[in-house]
């Protein structure tokens, strides 16, 4: 009964989304306030209905209702409750339902927080948001119905992929989707602005918080996924340039560019047309990522044909959203009046350079991800594009980006001088050069490029913090606006990420040894002794566990217990790594195959600065959230609006 209710709620949600997608648009063009206001009610109703559907599916998972095909295929009665719940989105249908839910929730958020928006703009934004929702709800109902029944119901399910039975699954996809789907709001604002024919500072002030929120979630989602891969895949890597990773990196890069160009629209009423285009591109790249992952083209071009309905549906939807958006842009963008003038050397100019480089990075990733597909389709030739390619093409473009990153905040709007800015950065420059030299001589014998990258990391941190310190000194130690604080945190955090990536990527070391209980290994000053091997019985797996006693200079330091788990239902093995971190380096151990006669394969990794990658990414998102809490961004929002109106706040002119 409950799955049918969920199914029915989903059908109703589609109907409501159709109404929400059509009538407010009509209302906005006719000036009919009743039709426009319908959008808000419909958005809330749609969110409620999709929520009911999601709740129904969750209920089926939690109670292990094996009359539902989706539950049979992806769950098992012996699975711990956490993974029963997170298993809801650990499969195709459920994850699409999660996507539709977040989309509807974002629509509802616009309806609730958008009270201060002009009526026509709000109506159009909600309508565009609903039309995207129509696409996803129809996709669910017609090609990927999560509520399909099976009769007779099997006694038990097939279980969830063991790699996904990890707390990471509980948070990674929802965060990632909050990011992907958040860009749908920006897209809706861009399309609405094109329909309205006007983009102004007020529009940008509305778009920025949504972009910022989506970007923060996407940052966290990517970081969490990378961390998850690091500790579960068992070979110490954190980024593999896998097409699925690239699919999330592209919207992040475009979103980062959008974040910066929206500042120019807000502050200087310039770059309007470009910002609208970026908003369309950022969401299109989110959809492209979904298409790549969902359609199966990544496995092989031919997998696309195995389930043509799904693949064709998303492809058609992608073309409609991207093509439609771009066509509307080509038609209406010339009407957007160009705004404030500026000279090449200025804050605007710096932000354009930022956009140029970020978009080049996004294009590089896009090309590297899609090229093998197109080449195979067009010529039948197979080509592999892996990490060495991206290291050779992506990383060099980061260098000018990082170099310019610290200079931009010193440049004034409209016109600026480059030399005074560079002069103020001399401390950061010296620190970076010293760090690079130290890295090249003391830490690193051969990879001098890594030393250079290390220098860039130090440059980013010292340069960003230095700018903040000088700003404080200039304003008599009054706290600068939150937006400026957020910028400093996020920029410095990029440096932390760079240092972590260089440390782990270039200066890690590993030891692989076959050990029997009682054997010892010497590794980076650690004395590692395999104390014992034991068998364990988990809730839905059996495991083999090694206990490694690690001591330094005869003193016991820590105990590492890597496991190898065998999931009986799926007959699959998963390595459970053991990691000891002191925030400066990770000592990482995995257990490989083996038996009592010959010993077990133990792999030890020493990953310098590894935690900084995720620490930095989290800081980066924190910077975004701090910036989001800036009162200036809340102007127009119901709560912040009143305060801002009664007590006007002077904005610094920079």
């Amino acid at each position: 009964m409950i799955p049918e209710l969920g199914h029915f709620a989903l059908i109703l949600a589609l109907a409501v989304a159709l109404v929400q997608g059509i009538l407010p648009l009509l209302g906005a063009s006719r000036g009919d306030i009743r039709l426009m206001d319908l959008g808000r009610t419909a958005a809330l109703t749609q969110a409620l209905l999709v929520f009911v559907a999601f709740g129904a599916l969750t209920q089926a998972y939690v109670t292990s209702d094996f009359s539902v095909v989706n539950v049979v295929a992806n769950s098992h009665s012996a699975k711990p409750l956490l993974y029963k719940i997170s298993g809801v989105w650990g499969n195709h249908e459920g994850s699409m339902l999660l996507w539709a839910l977040i989309l509807a929730l974002f629509g509802a958020a616009v309806a609730v927080f958008g009270a201060g928006l002009p009526d026509t703009l709000r109506a159009r934004v909600l309508a565009i948001q609903a039309l995207i929702g129509v696409g996803f709800l129809a996709f669910l109902l017609f090609t990927s119905n999560p509520f399909e029944r099976v009769s007779p119901a099997p006694l038990d399910g097939n279980g969830l992929n063991p790699l996904l039975q990890d707390p990471g699954l509980a948070f990674h996809p929802p965060l990632l989707y909050l990011g992907y789907v958040g860009f749908s709001v920006t897209y809706a604002f861009a399309i609405a602005a094109l329909l309205e024919g006007r983009v102004d500072a007020a529009w940008a002030r509305w778009v920025r918080p949504w972009t910022l929120a989506a970007w923060c979630f996407l940052t966290l989602g990517i970081a969490l996924g990378s961390w998850w891969a690091y500790y579960i895949l068992g070979w110490g890597g954190f980024w593999f340039w896998d097409p699925v990773e690239n699919a999330s990196l592209m919207p992040w890069l475009a979103g980062t560019a959008l974040l910066h160009s929206a500042i120019v629209v807000e502050k200087r009423d310039s770059l309007k047309s470009w910002t609208v285009l970026l908003a369309i591109l950022a969401f299109s790249l989110s959809l492209l990522g979904t298409f790549l992952v969902r359609s199966g083209v990544l496995t092989s071009v031919h997998a696309f044909a195995q389930d043509p309905a799904r693949g064709m549906f998303i492809l058609a939807f992608l073309l409609l959203v991207t093509g439609g958006g771009l066509a509307l842009y080509a038609w209406r963008a010339p009407r957007l009046t160009p705004g404030g003038m500026f000279q090449p050397v200025s804050r605007e100019g710096a932000l354009i350079l930022n956009n140029l480089l970020l978009c080049t990075l996004a294009a590089t990733v896009l090309l590297g991800t899609l090229y093998p597909l197109f080449l195979d389709l067009l010529t039948g030739n197979k080509v592999s594009v892996g990490p060495p390619f991206f290291n050779a093409t992506f990383v060099p473009i980061c260098a000018p980006l990082f170099a310019a990153l610290c200079v931009g905040p010193y440049l004034g709007w409209k016109r600026a001088e480059i030399w005074p800015a560079l002069l103020k950065l001399r401390v950061a420059f010296i620190a970076a050069v010293v760090a690079a030299i130290v890295a090249a001589t003391a830490i690193d014998g051969r990879a001098t490029l890594a030393a250079l990258a290390f220098g860039f990391g130090v440059w980013l941190i010292v340069g960003s913090l230095g700018e903040f310190a000088q700003r404080l000194a200039r304003t008599g130690y009054r706290m600068p606006p939150r937006a400026a604080l957020g910028m400093t945190i996020a920029h410095a955090a990029m440096g932390v990420v760079v240092l972590g990536a260089v440390g782990t990527g270039a200066w890690n070391s590993e030891l692989m040894q076959t050990m029997k209980p009682g054997d010892r290994a010497q590794f980076h000053g650690f004395d590692v002794k395999l104390e014992r091997m034991e068998s364990l019985q988990g809730p839905n797996y059996i495991a083999e566990r090694a206990t490694l006693a690690v001591s330094v200079g005869g003193k016991s330091y820590t105990v590492l217990q890597p496991e190898r788990r065998l999931f009986a239902v799926q007959r699959r093995q998963v390595a459970e790594t053991a990691i000891h971190t002191n925030l400066l380096r990770d000592l990482y151990a995995t257990l490989g195959e083996g038996e009592a006669a010959n010993g077990w394969v133990i792999r030890l990794y020493y990953n310098p600065l590894a935690p900084w990658i995720w620490l930095g990414a989290a800081l980066c998102a924190l910077g975004g959230f701090v910036s989001l809490s800036d009162r200036r961004l809340r102007v127009g929002a119901p709560q912040g609006g009143k305060r801002a109106r009664t007590r006007p706040i002077a904005h610094p002119a920079e």
Partner: protein, 150 residues
């Protein structure tokens, strides 16, 4: 993130707990380190975007052995790559060679940068420089002073 591939594509491939095994390793550490570097640049031809170093597929194991055999026989890195390409084609290289079919791949990114950067520079040239603000006339200065007087 690679786990997401698994999550989303719900592939049920056996993921490796281990890749390179101690039994495969060469005695000479410098040779072994070269073998690892080469291994990281070669694709396991039956896997999804995995290097032979990361994969525990049967084929990857054979490929790792082949690399080590060539190295022990005294081949330099280039020769080892050439040997693998002769057997598996360009597909085996994770960094595709720069040739007719891959020009667009290699030059696409820099081209975007150059073309977009060039267009921006041209636009900046065409744009009239902002004239410096006209200084206040004596009359305006007098009025301003009067206004600013407390």
């Amino acid at each position: 993130m690679r786990t997401v591939a698994v999550l989303l594509a719900t592939l049920l491939l056996a993921w490796p707990a281990l890749a390179v095994e101690p039994s495969e390793m060469l005695q000479d550490p410098s040779l072994e380190s070269r073998a690892r570097d080469i291994g990281r640049s070669l694709r396991c031809v039956v896997c999804q975007n995995q290097s032979i170093d990361d994969s525990n597929a049967e084929v990857a194991r054979d490929m790792r052995r082949a690399v080590r055999e060539r190295l022990t026989a005294g081949d330099d890195d280039q020769k080892v790559f050439a040997y693998m390409v002769a057997r598996y084609g360009d597909y085996v290289l994770l960094k595709p060679p720069f040739k007719a079919g891959t020009w667009a791949l290699w030059l696409g990114g820099p081209l975007v940068l150059i073309v977009a950067g060039g267009l921006l520079l041209m636009a900046a040239r065409r744009r009239k420089p902002i004239p410096p603000p006209v200084p206040l006339s004596d009359e305006e200065q007098r009025r301003l002073d009067a206004l600013l007087k407390p």
